[in-house]
Symmetry: D2
Subunit: 383 residues, 4 copies
Amino acid sequence: MADGGGTPLRVGMVGYAFMGLAHSQAWRTVNRVFDLPFRVEMVAVAGRDARAVTAMAERHGWAGATTDWRELVARDDIDLIDVCTPGDTHAEISIAALASGKHVLCEKPLANTVAEAEEMVRVADQARAAGVRSMCGFNYRRVPAVAHLRNLIAGGRLGHIRHVRAAYLQDWIVDPEFPLVWRLRKEIAGSGALGDIGAHIVDMAQFVTGQRLTGVSALTETFVHERPLPEGGGRGQVTVDDAALFLGRLSGGAVATFEATRFAAGRRNALRMEVFGSAGSAAFDMERMNELEVYDVGVPVTGQGFTRVLVTERDHPYMAAWWPPGHIIGYEHSFTHEVRDLIEAIATGTDPEPSFRDALGVQRVLDAVERSAASSSTWTPVA
Amino acid sequence: MADGGGTPLRVGMVGYAFMGLAHSQAWRTVNRVFDLPFRVEMVAVAGRDARAVTAMAERHGWAGATTDWRELVARDDIDLIDVCTPGDTHAEISIAALASGKHVLCEKPLANTVAEAEEMVRVADQARAAGVRSMCGFNYRRVPAVAHLRNLIAGGRLGHIRHVRAAYLQDWIVDPEFPLVWRLRKEIAGSGALGDIGAHIVDMAQFVTGQRLTGVSALTETFVHERPLPEGGGRGQVTVDDAALFLGRLSGGAVATFEATRFAAGRRNALRMEVFGSAGSAAFDMERMNELEVYDVGVPVTGQGFTRVLVTERDHPYMAAWWPPGHIIGYEHSFTHEVRDLIEAIATGTDPEPSFRDALGVQRVLDAVERSAASSSTWTPVA
Amino acid sequence: MADGGGTPLRVGMVGYAFMGLAHSQAWRTVNRVFDLPFRVEMVAVAGRDARAVTAMAERHGWAGATTDWRELVARDDIDLIDVCTPGDTHAEISIAALASGKHVLCEKPLANTVAEAEEMVRVADQARAAGVRSMCGFNYRRVPAVAHLRNLIAGGRLGHIRHVRAAYLQDWIVDPEFPLVWRLRKEIAGSGALGDIGAHIVDMAQFVTGQRLTGVSALTETFVHERPLPEGGGRGQVTVDDAALFLGRLSGGAVATFEATRFAAGRRNALRMEVFGSAGSAAFDMERMNELEVYDVGVPVTGQGFTRVLVTERDHPYMAAWWPPGHIIGYEHSFTHEVRDLIEAIATGTDPEPSFRDALGVQRVLDAVERSAASSSTWTPVA
Amino acid sequence: MADGGGTPLRVGMVGYAFMGLAHSQAWRTVNRVFDLPFRVEMVAVAGRDARAVTAMAERHGWAGATTDWRELVARDDIDLIDVCTPGDTHAEISIAALASGKHVLCEKPLANTVAEAEEMVRVADQARAAGVRSMCGFNYRRVPAVAHLRNLIAGGRLGHIRHVRAAYLQDWIVDPEFPLVWRLRKEIAGSGALGDIGAHIVDMAQFVTGQRLTGVSALTETFVHERPLPEGGGRGQVTVDDAALFLGRLSGGAVATFEATRFAAGRRNALRMEVFGSAGSAAFDMERMNELEVYDVGVPVTGQGFTRVLVTERDHPYMAAWWPPGHIIGYEHSFTHEVRDLIEAIATGTDPEPSFRDALGVQRVLDAVERSAASSSTWTPVA
């Protein structure tokens, strides 16, 4: 009886590391908690190491495994390709999948360069005409507190937005002896903190405000220049930023600060966003992702203050699917929500968000950040 | 390839409401994230409404569904019965299952009366001799922060425990028009806040300190005496406590306060525990279940304070199975951890905790609370 | 020009330790920040050690010093006696002062026994007939957040009060080598944590709710029975409680828990109070005394939560006298507010609160607590 | 006996608004709580409105009042001039006072222009040769938690500093109908949020790290361009920034973000600073000024986290003068600490900090910020 009923949505996934695990649980879970028009079938996963990918498939419920992602793209019995690889292969895989008529969910950042991202958007636009959907995996949009914040702003509850203060603070490479993993190498990762976590706060700022970043002034820094090679045998050069700081202006008149770093000792995953408007304000911290602090200018002054809303009510975004109020959810749920929205979009023939175009917008901001940082922080309009 | 390999552990579940959903996700998830000697098979679920239980089975991955729990107990192809019904049926189902040689996981409270619980322990002891395991579902023991707290105390990090301050604050019946659901009727639920949530803090206090409650002084209160019948047609009598407050002494010399209420407006699921010892202290709040605040008397005075530990490190209990540090987990994960520990115990032929005897101990505390409350709060030793 | 103008209110103070210092700053400051009908004159301070009391007078702005408090009581040029001694001398000094027609501000607890307190009330009642005012120094009533909470409750904002959760947690004697100071000796202090800090939370609970405690069930505990004598030469017996825990019922139907302890390692001065009502709730912690967390049942559910009100607005109690919003005040300000209210009462011929009778009420609760603790925690009505 | 003994330090103050009140209480209080070589005499205060300044003098304990600050500078019986006026008169008054041999405490920002500040430094340097002392009033340095943070960093406890994240968030002009007070007019205030509150976080960042800002990239914004005139009769132009945001680099290799705004709805006085280093981190918020959160990289990983240190121990800076641990102090105490340090410096013949030169350094940063903001945010070295 399990897995029975409903039109199947047959998924193939490429990549099986951190994001592959997070997406696997999402595909496995989504039909259990949401009423959906499609029933997910986890058809196969592709990865470079045959033994590892096979073990991963068995463990996480993929019916098949392969070392060649092209095989997945070529299969007739797959409807959607989920791209969970590092950024240097996003473009190639996504484009091939779209070209073969498969919906694509691509992890963020969309690509390592603007040029790649533009090509992906071009192909996605063509595919859309044929009813093929594409989406970029900025999963934090699907944290209920973040979606709730967007709704508050869209509903005018914060008034005109004056300030966005965004920071994504991590600390996993504070130790200079931490090895030179792929995320510290430009040829694979594209950039460092900027593309990995800076991309998230750029997307979130644009998402919650409904505005675009129009220009930036930036600096980047690499604090530790050499690290031990993970495979042993000496040290190698860190070729990405450890931290990226930038100022920005939003299309609706707000000013903003952004800070992405892997050197904030003690901050494990502190994605924080404060938004100040003419009618209210809000503050979010991913380390307490079930909470949103909200301030309302209109309250009588003796009662004013930030209200700690536990975003676990049935009427909060996504939360009717889960537990009674006050019973919190975790990081992984954002991915379940993400594939839920993607499935809904495919079923209704609408474009899921964030689109590749939205993600290209983020990429262009990151590009402007790098150009500004390379040009004495000079103000750099976002293309 | 999915679900392949390993010795099967064939599970039948009775009950399909809140706890049934929480347990379903646990059984479905546990092999994905933990390396285990058994592979869970979700054989069938039993519930009173044929249509509803069938739908639930389909959705949540149970291969079969039935309206008769005795069928599950009678089947040869089931190894373990998971009892998720209200407390009035725990004893009958658990005893039948144990008697037919099936391992049992029974939700808390173990039973609605001490007598029932004692009988369950008797049967469980007999079954144990035949290698049949039994466990009571005090899932909060498996919150990593709680397990970590127990380890700190067991390792002597807090010294002699002086104080336990425990509260379980909820607010779902503050509105006097909230209907008279089964949890508000003594004949089904046994008691009100006391057995439902008070049981959790009693178990947690005993678990983290490794001590038993030796006596209590208590009062209970029902604030709203009549409520609308859920089926409509007038009002009925609330026959359980809305709140239970008690003082206690622990076998190791600590004193304790307990407060369980469903009338703490604004506290959705605030299970809080503070423990103060001669060498250190700790504080926990289930609404921020990934955090434990820890104080160390031995730190130089200018650096003393409560440290907010984000209990998400690989070296924290259970957390190596999940996400990178700082990526939090949710309420449901406690159940995944619970069945993981149960499976390990079955595999290694050891007794899982909390045993039915542990749960009987909790029941005896609840019983002493009710007797004290009925006797002018007079000090009442726990049997 | 300084100190010029206005009718003088001539103050004599007895005692010059912790409370003497706190009161000195209050008398010195009150005319600077509040518009008052009287101008305080700090006439003289009395203390047992001539050298010490003289030095204290010079430093803290008292015009004179004496070793004999009776001298102060006898002087014609003193209008008010401020009693800041340990509890064993409160009755004698206050009664003498009132008898000689002087207003009295007496530190809490009012006395060490109910009998003494009753006698003080009798004398105070007589004095009142002659326009002589008396007040007990429960200074925490004058913390703006606490006064604001009282106003919220008095205005019906929290509805019917269901629960009061009060705790006063300190840790200054966790170390068993901390010496046997006077506060640990029953003959001087009357009781331990109970009278010293338990008195505060009893008064605060009654003050904010406007209700009286009608009965209690209690236990007390002394964790460390012998301590080094402060003067050296061996150890002496601790004759007071280290901790007092009690349950209570309030005249308006609420139930309550109280916990006063000096063994809460890491909690320096954590006077906490939570109040849950049918329409709202509030939470206070003296370690963050400028904040009050307030919950409103009536807010739409997606916006519900505790609002952290920074109680520093001009429209908050007492705060118009101080700094712009957001600029916090400290512990000592509660005393300035206390003498401000006392002066206003004297000027307007009204009775300041808390009256000796209010304080006697607290004393009777403490007495009931001790009797319950001595009687197997049996429910003990407050006289 | 009051005010008796000790060498007098005779103070004259210019200005009697917000800062005048804060300084008055400091001068009045400092000898009460600290052992000092000088006894403060509050000789006279100068202000433009005769009636108002006289009333202020009477109330706050100044022996005399005048409408002409030059009178104070000319008097023989005044040793120190305390400049509490708006920034446009700081230079003239301070220079005149120094020239007449009087020590000067000048409120921040030191001046409205770098040129003025340079002249002030020049005169201060000359005066120093004659034993005349000068100090700028960056009072937040004297918040115990901030001084403690500096000590931690100076002692190497945080290692190499990587990041400073500073923000000073206020909200008093969010309402567009708030009037055009002097702080919104460039000719008086010099700048807006930048000089008023941005100056504080620049000074604090340099103070706690012991490093200088070497360059900045900035943007400024004015959200509301016209406001009602305070005197009525129409609207006038806001000629200062409402918000200033900038990135910076510190001389020791750290990168930094700064944000000063008066449009952060709900943040009354949120001066926040986070410092991340190779060995530890710390976080401060002026709204909870008695707390410092400290993180130590060296702690075993399962115990890592930010420790909330209540900075109220006798061994914390300044705190031995106040109350027992856990009893918090307020905003105004920072000024008492400031004049205490100034008096100590005068007595010991050392230079108090921050010197005028330190304050000029801040001014140069502000100047670089304005120049960068006017030049497309281009990186601008600090002179």
